[in-house]
Structures are given as structure tokens and as C-alpha cells.
């Protein structure tokens, strides 16, 4: 059977609809719905996991095991009163939640979620928009989210909200730099910015980029935590300092929009981390799922003489790879929640110092080193494959160990016990004897 991209039209007699358009509509609707569901259930997971960590039960009143809790929350938020502070800048106050919600949802469009799906009218790519500028698109839109946050903080005309917005802008701009630079190594290794091709290259390399680019992975995870404003980087919200930061003045569905965007960002960042560094929908130790459009053909690899091996897509393969992608994304989501309920918040100056004095120079130096290594490996004629990956892994591992060593033990960040590192003794304070005793 020959596998070709989706083609042809559905002839309804009075109008002919291209199958590609129908597939696109179905994918857009499906991914949006699933994304919103995942976001809703991430809020439940957050509350459940935090409860388990604290030896509690978590929400368990609405539906079995509290599974209908997100729906109840949604209904509650719709029915609540919309407040508008008297001194708020009305237009921007309304605009901010929209601006913050839009980028967090739209970034998911370029992330491939499964292997191509064969249908009777051709093979459908399981990605909403396979744009050639995949990662640049994600970087562009994820940095747009900061406008909504800053605008919300400013338009509220509230000092806490304003401080939250300011912190958000400073933090997101700072960590955007390290985020982008840690991505450069991925682009260098793949030679491409399309996410489908990055997955293909990881399949060709025989290992996920988390190993040959381990330091980039570490920097990306840290930056992603800062970008999504999650603990230990939740400066913009900082409940104990700023009430709830930039969304202090928001209520009802506007508040909900901020929450949805926060969790949407989390899901997108998790999916992105899974795609860039854990092979996306790739199933490890199995080449049967390797699929890529190469010169109009769906191939699964190259033979030793350079000829292509055709891939055989199947519905069960699509479902299996979708499950692999879900597991990887879920892992990062759980990691997000797990770290949130473990680590305390950094101080603001610590966040800035980590961003500018550690992450930025490290990622720059790492880009240079990786560029040199890749160039050297290419110059000595090593084929792009498992050995190539192993060589990079060795270099990266040395960098990661050095970075972690440099970061730790009072050099950059210390444990909480060392914050007041003064020598103290047990001393006695003499008190005047009570009168008349």
C-alpha cells in the first residue's frame, strides 16, 4: 500500500470540501478540546498531589474521587461576580486576560502529538500546523504572554498587582534569554527548527537529546519553570508578599483566564520539553515508529547504501505514540507539581542573579562548546548516529557535572541552613535578681 499525504475532496454535490481542510478542522478542534481538558485536570492533579504530599485527601466531594471538581470550579467561576476596580484602566484591564490566554493556547499548534495517521484518503500528520519555523513560533508566542501579565498588573491600579507585573516582566525577559540560548544547541544538532524534524533527528541519533545535550536540557527545564512562573520562581504571584500578584484584582472568568493560561503554559512547556529533549512521540528502543516525510515519501530510515526505507504507518502505531507523548508530557506536569510542593520560593535578587549571572553565561559557553564539538565530530567524519550521540553525551556530561558543582555549595545557591552562616555559641545572659527575693 502506498502512503501519500492527505489529498482529494469530499464531494457533497453542491460544494466540494478538501479532505485536508476537514482533517485540519478536526485536529484543531480535537487538540483544543483535549488541551482544555488537560488544563482542567492539571488543576485537579495539582490539588490532589499537593494533598497527598501533605497527607490529606484533596478534593473528593464532586464526583468519584473528585473527578468532576474542575467542572464545578468552571461553573463557579462563570457564576461569580465580575469586579472592575473603580480606578482600573478599563480597556486594558479587560484586554489583559485575553492577551495572556491566547499565546498559551496557540503555542500548542506546532507540537506534534503522535506518529502520522493513515486514513483511506491519505496520511494525516498529527500536528495542527507543521510550520517550518516551529521553535521560533513557540518562542515568539511564549514571550508575548508577558504583555498580558504586565498589562494586567498595570491596569489594575493596585500596588501589589503592579509589583507582580513588574516582577513578571523582569523574570520572563531574563529567563527568555537562557531559554532561547539553550535551544540553540538543539537547533545546531538538528540543523532545523521544525519540531517534526527534531523528533526525526532524535530517532536517527538513536538517543533522545536529553543525553547528548544534558546541560541544555537542565537549563531549559530551569528556564521553563521560570517562564511559566511556577515555584520556586513564582515571583509574580508570591502569595505571601504580593497577595496574588498581577491578578489580585481579577475575579470570576477573568481570574479563571489567568489560571487557565498559567496551566496552559505549563502543559505547553511540558509538551515542548518532551518533544525537544525526550523524543516527543518516539517510543524508545523501537524503530517501527520512526516516520518522516522525505521528498514526498513517508520513510522510516535510510539503508546503508543511502536508499530510503518506506515506513508503514498504522492506526495502532499512532495511538501507541500518542500514549508515549502523553506519558512524557505527564511526567513533566507531575514534576512541575512535585517541585512546587517541595521547594520554597527564591528571593527576587536570587532569581535575577541566577538568570543573568549563571544561566546566561553558562548557556552561551555551552553553545560555543557544543558548536565546537559538533564541528569537530563532523570534521573527523563521524556519521550522525549512536556513536556521534555518545561523544556528545560525554562532553555534555562533563559540562553538567561542572555546572552543578559550580552552582552548589555556597557558590551561587546554598541550602536554607546556610543562609545565616554565623558562628554562634550557647551564651548566658545575666539577669538582675528580682527585688525582695
Amino acid at each position: 500500500m502506498d502512503f501519500v499525504p492527505i489529498h482529494g475532496e469530499l464531494d457533497l454535490g453542491f460544494v466540494a470540501i478538501p479532505w485536508a481542510l476537514l482533517a485540519m478542522t478536526a485536529k484543531t478542534t480535537g487538540i483544543f478540546t483535549v488541551l482544555m481538558l488537560v488544563v482542567a485536570y492539571t488543576t485537579l492533579a495539582e490539588r490532589k498531589v499537593s494533598a497527598w504530599i501533605q497527607d490529606r485527601h484533596g478534593p473528593n466531594r464532586v464526583g468519584p474521587f473528585g473527578l468532576l471538581q474542575p467542572i464545578a470550579d468552571g461553573i463557579k467561576n462563570f457564576l461569580k461576580e465580575e469586579t472592575l476596580p473603580a480606578t482600573a484602566s478599563r480597556a486594558f484591564f479587560v484586554l489583559a486576560p485575553i492577551l495572556v490566554l491566547f499565546p498559551s493556547l496557540v503555542t500548542f499548534a506546532v507540537i506534534p502529538i503522535a506518529a502520522p495517521l493513515p486514513t483511506p484518503v491519505g496520511v494525516v500528520d498529527m500536528i495542527v500546523a507543521d510550520v517550518p519555523i516551529g521553535i521560533l513560533y513557540i518562542l515568539a508566542f511564549s514571550s508575548l504572554a508577558v504583555y498580558g501579565v504586565v498589562l494586567g498588573g498595570w491596569a489594575s491600579n493596585n500596588k501589589y498587582a503592579f509589583l507582580g507585573g513588574l516582577r513578571a516582566s523582569a523574570q520572563m525577559v531574563s529567563y527568555e534569554v537562557a531559554l532561547g540560548l539553550s535551544l540553540i544547541t538543539v537547533l545546531m544538532l538538528s540543523g532545523n527548527v521544525t519540531l517534526t524534524e527534531i523528533i526525526w533527528q532524535q530517532q536517527q541519533l538513536g538517543m533522545w537529546y536529553a543525553f547528548p545535550l544534558s546541560l541544555a536540557f537542565l537549563l531549559f527545564v530551569i528556564s521553563a519553570f521560570a517562564e511559566t512562573n511556577r515555584l520556586p520562581f513564582d515571583m509574580p504571584e508570591a502569595e505571601s508578599e504580593l497577595v496574588t500578584g498581577y491578578h489580585t484584582e481579577y475575579s470570576a472568568m477573568k481570574f479563571s483566564a489567568f489560571m487557565i493560561s498559567e496551566f496552559g503554559h505549563m502543559v505547553t512547556a511540558s509538551a515542548l520539553m518532551a518533544t525537544l529533549f525526550l523524543g516527543g512521540w518516539d517510543i524508545p528502543f523501537w524503530t517501527g515508529d520512526n516516520m518522516f516525510w522525505h521528498q514526498g515519501q513517508l520513510i522510516s530510515g535510510f539503508a546503508a547504501d543511502g536508499s530510503t526505507i518506506l515506513a508503514t504507518p498504522a492506526i495502532w502505531k499512532t495511538l501507541l505514540t500518542l500514549a508515549a507523548f502523553a506519558v512524557k508530557t505527564g511526567f513533566f506536569l507531575v514534576l512541575y507539581i512535585w517541585i512546587r510542593w517541595t521547594l520554597p520560593r527564591f528571593r527576587y535578587d536570587q532569581v535575577m542573579a541566577l538568570g543573568w549571572k549563571v544561566m546566561l553565561p553558562t548557556s552561551l559557553a555551552y553553545v560555543m562548546l557544543m558548536a565546537g564539538t559538533i564541528l569537530t565530530l563532523d570534521e573527523i567524519g563521524m556519521a550522525f548516529g549512536f556513536g556521534y550521540g555518545l561523544a556528545l553525551t560525554a562532553v555534555s556530561l562533563a559540562c553538567t557535572i561542572g555546572f552543578v558543582f559550580y552552582l552548589d555549595r555556597g557558590r551561587i545557591i546554598t541550602g536554607a541552613a546556610a543562609l545565616h552562616a554565623q558562628k554562634v555559641e550557647i551564651k548566658t545572659i545575666s539577669q538582675p535578681a528580682p527585688a525582695g527575693d
Partner: protein, 166 residues
């Protein structure tokens, strides 16, 4: 006399590791995350065992024929430190005293239980009961009928010869 101050010896920054501390913290939270223990009491389903001397909502004991045991002697409104008992006594044809009005304002009541202690005929009791939520404030003034309807267990009085109820 001297106060001794114990100050914690904190480790040097060079010897404490943030990452190691963070990882051990994550190990601890993970252990709690997967452990099935829970300290939550599932309240409406799981009831707390109230102490036998728990002093809660009042109830009035009744005779077998449905009359209240109260003889309107007036001791409980006298002893009540919160002044929450309203009692108007009456006398029937046989000369038996009975309460015409007997009201307890559960909002003013401080649940000291002295009305139960002082009652000569063991009519008024505080009870082992606390779920007395209502929608309006006036529902918290319990009249005689309401007090007689209460059927929760009554509080065990403190016995000086057995101070720990053993």
C-alpha cells in the same frame, strides 16, 4: 538567675548543598505522595468520638406521659452565668409546678453545664451533640417543645470521687 539561650549551629555555606537538600526534600515529598496515610477525618461520614462529658446542645427529659420533668423551681435561670434561660413557672390543679415558658438561647449559652448540675429533678441536660446549625438566628432560641424533642445522649456529670471518669 540567668536565661540560657540556645542558638542553632548552622553549617557553613561551603558544606551545605542546595541541590542535595532539594533532592532530599523531593524524596521526602515523594514518600508522602505515595504513602496511603491521611490525617484527614472525612467528617460527615466519619464522626468524632465525643467525650462522655462533652457539653453540647441542651435537651429536656420527659416523663412517660410526655410531660417535661421540669418542676419550674427556678434554679437553672438563677445559676446560669450567661443568663440564657428564660423560665416562667405555673401550677396545675393538683399543685404540680410545671414550666409555662422554658427557653434557652443557645447563642448566649456558654455550655458550662451548671444548669444540669443544679437541676434537682434531672430534667435539663447538656448533651453530647454539636451539629446545631440553622438558617436564621431566631432558630437558636430553643423553646420547651424543641428541647423535649432532642434525643441525643446526655452529658455525664463529673464525679468528684472519680475525677477521670475511669
Amino acid at each position: 538567675m540567668a536565661i540560657s539561650v540556645k542558638v542553632m549551629h548552622r553549617p557553613e555555606p561551603e558544606t551545605t548543598s542546595y541541590l542535595r537538600a532539594a533532592l532530599s526534600g523531593m524524596a521526602l515529598t515523594f514518600k508522602h505522595m505515595i504513602s496511603p496515610t491521611s490525617v484527614t477525618q472525612q467528617y460527615p461520614e466519619e464522626q468524632t468520638d465525643l467525650s462522655p462529658r462533652w457539653r453540647g446542645t441542651h435537651r429536656m427529659e420527659v416523663h412517660a406521659d410526655g410531660r417535661p420533668k421540669c418542676v419550674a423551681c427556678g434554679l437553672c435561670p438563677t445559676v446560669c452565668p450567661a443568663n440564657c434561660i428564660k423560665l416562667v413557672g405555673g401550677e396545675d390543679d393538683q399543685g404540680n409546678r410545671y414550666p409555662i415558658v422554658y427557653e434557652i438561647d443557645e447563642f448566649r449559652c456558654i455550655f458550662c453545664g451548671m444548669c444540669q448540675e443544679v437541676c434537682p429533678v434531672e430534667a435539663i441536660h447538656v448533651g453530647r451533640h454539636f451539629e446545631n446549625a440553622e438558617y436564621t438566628r431566631d432558630r437558636f432560641v430553643y423553646d420547651l417543645d424543641r428541647l423535649m424533642e432532642q434525643d441525643h445522649p446526655t452529658t455525664l456529670l463529673w464525679d468528684p470521687s472519680d475525677p477521670r471518669s475511669e
